[in-house]
Point group: C2
Chain length 429, copies 2
């Protein structure tokens, strides 16, 4: 049985119990979310018992880190290093987006090493298999596409991005309406190219029922990709993006009916004042399905610091109800991320997720901040470092700059406001 | 004549002309802003001709970097290094908050080297002078406080933070209502301590007219400090903060009447969903005076990454109308910032300011993003690097990771969506 099916029967699975505990919610709360499709627990049935996290309404905002090789940079060791950096920095899930080298070997190694849900975008490997078989990428058959997806699910992948919304109708609209940066999604561009050369509908749209059957078999979560996501502020919330979301909303409904867990992916590049509207839109049009956003980046010009632009958009999205933030690293738009980039990207995104959780009133979120500020007021440095989002980094910075009076810090030294005010108000309150 | 007085007579000063040009606005636009107090040009009359930036409604959001020694870390060279790092990273102004070593020498060196407006918080030096004279900090006289302010203005300081709103009435409210982190502003805590031991009203409140006269003489801009700003999410937008802002609003009005330029300082630590309300409040209560916020930090737990929490709050504040963002560095709450921290803090805050400027429709802001995305679509790397917020950093990251095909990058390599889609749509459009 899938998690949804269990939930519909009122059964508290191990995963539901584990998620309820972590989130400080009742099992009934999780069951209600699974039933209505507002919560997913992305655990492939072959990996049950290994890990369980919930993503969706009422739960803490989760953070995903993308890792994976590219045709230019191929190293299993580096990818495993990145995986460890992501987990160490607190990523809730990882996606292995490898497109270089022995993709299958990397995927299996990541699955083996990761005690968190692992996602992939199977169309990448499907296309690369075609190329390795001496064909053009566009010559892969529909069966080959589905076969690759099944291979991923069989190997234990917990959630897969499928660009079902890049349809012939969408491409017609793209030609008609135009946009600044057309299609910036890799999976979206593969699909577009395939459809163009084969003059056929997107197999993942036309064959969506087949996809649902596969996902159901492994209780894998579908992550409906936004192949037409805006790749620039200019394209944000445009007709193409919104019409794709309408298609995805229908597919969410069909997944719910089939007992398949489903999330919806979102942008991308979005001006700050449109971020909330994007979340509202998804929640309405997609029947409350968990919203998984990439950033969003609130400017196009911050290459080198896109983790910060992504944290800004991600925080606002999370506060508005986005459930799952895909990190963006400082290397976005410039190069494949390094291990250090992975760490920076995860932590920046965790800051954003937590800022959103405070607004969402996720159990325990605000209380964490209160505990920290209480420690600050008491000049309790051990407790402050322990409560920091990244205790090692906080400790490293503090240790690098020793104050004369170790109850203080080198910022204000003896002129510490906390200390002064304590002296004045302390005895009077 | 002060800039306001010139504006009231319809005179286009060199500073007004320079600001209008930089901001792509008419001189009349700047004059209107100066007249109504919604724009300031913080240039001490002794430093005219050296630099001119405008801060306020309709203008690009500006970024301030705090530098300065502390009792634990004293080095003129390091402070000048930080100054250069701040300017190099694109800070619009700097504040020298030195409290260690020869404060006057540092201030003069900073003024000499900085081709941007320089601000200070004179109460720091006033208090330290008292200590150096063998008295307790609280034994400084009112005249000594005013004398230090005048010394700063005489040396050419363009804007001064004055904590005029920490009044006896405010302290009574603090005792009555309580809050988690009491007073976290250094200047606020000095003032509080002084008032407590002397059992007197805040000299900068009681003697505000004297302050206005001084500011008028040098055409210095007053930055009304928020000595009661929240130092934790728990204290945000509380009675104490708001009642101080009400006091500051009255003082804004009096400054306007006296022909003195004035800005208002704001928080601090604010949950994401209260940031906009804080801006609205200031704009209404303080008669549209430019709003100068510190962060705001949207969480208390991100020590080590507070530049990111500050960028999130700063972007949302700027989008809502905040005019001037004081950076926060990764070292906030842990140590005096290093030169590298200064650089990181400035750039993070510039990302936030720009994200806000896009929403504010500041002339040229959105166009920058469009130009970048156009370069991306055309795989024009020279242009992309040139247009990056920090071209050197962007180039460094790209150069560190060479793609086989130099029209692409190592993220997607040959599977670049931009390239693929160009191939498909290029000839059909």
């Amino acid at each position: 049985m899938t998690q949804i099916e269990s939930a519909r029967q009122g059964e508290v699975t191990d995963e539901i119990r584990a998620v309820a505990e972590k989130e400080k919610r009742s099992p009934e709360f999780i069951i209600d979310g699974l039933r209505s499709g507002t919560i997913v627990i992305p655990v492939n049935s072959l990996r049950r018992g290994r890990h369980a996290i919930g993503i969706g309404s009422g739960l803490a905002t989760k953070v995903n880190a993308n890792i994976g090789s590219s045709s230019d940079q191929i190293s299993l060791e580096t990818e495993l290093e990145k995986l460890m950096a992501a987990l160490d920095a607190g990523a809730d899930t990882v996606m292995d987006l490898s497109t270089g080298g022995d993709i299958e070997a990397i995927r299996r190694a990541v699955l083996e090493a990761a005690a968190v849900p692992v996602g992939t975008v199977p169309i990448y490997e499907a296309a690369i298999r075609a190329v390795k078989a001496g064909k053009g990428m566009v010559e892969m058959t529909e069966d080959e596409i589905f076969q690759t997806i099944e291979d991923h699910l069989k190997s234990g992948i917990d959630f897969v991005t499928v660009h079902c919304g890049v349809t012939r109708a969408a491409i017609a609209k793209l030609r008609e309406c135009g946009r600044l940066t057309d299609v910036v999604s890799r999976g979206g561009s593969f699909t577009l190219e395939w459809m163009y050369y084969n003059d056929k509908e997107n197999p993942l749209y036309a064959g969506y029922d087949r996809l649902l059957e596969m996902a159901r078999e492994y209780d894998a979560t579908l992550s409906l990709g936004d192949g037409l996501r805006p790749g620039s502020l200019a394209d944000a919330t445009d007709l193409l993006q919104v019409s794709e979301m309408v298609v995805l909303g229908e597919l969410v409904k069909r997944a719910n009916r089939a007992g398949v867990q489903v999330m919806v992916e979102g942008p991308g590049h979005v001006p700050l004042n449109e971020v909330e509207a994007n979340v509202v839109l998804e929640k309405k049009v997609c029947f409350g399905a968990p919203f998984y956003v990439l950033g969003p980046l609130v400017t196009d010009i911050s290459a080198g610091y896109d983790h910060i632009a992504g944290a800004i958009g991600g925080a606002v999205a999370a506060a508005a109800g986005a459930d799952f933030l895909c990190y963006v690293t400082p290397s976005e738009h410039l190069r494949l991320p390094t291990t250090e980039d992975v760490r920076e990207g995860v932590v920046a995104t965790r800051v954003a997720a937590h800022a959103g959780d405070i607004v969402k009133r996720v159990p325990g979120a605000y209380e964490w901040d209160v505990a920290m500020s209480d420690a600050r007021k008491n000049l309790d440095w051990d407790r402050m470092l322990e409560l920091a989002l990244d205790p090692r980094r906080a400790k490293k910075l503090r240790d690098s700059s020793k104050p004369q009076d170790t109850t203080l810090c080198t910022m204000c030294g003896e002129y510490c406001a906390m200390k002064k005010v304590k002296g004045v108000l302390g005895d009077k309150k």
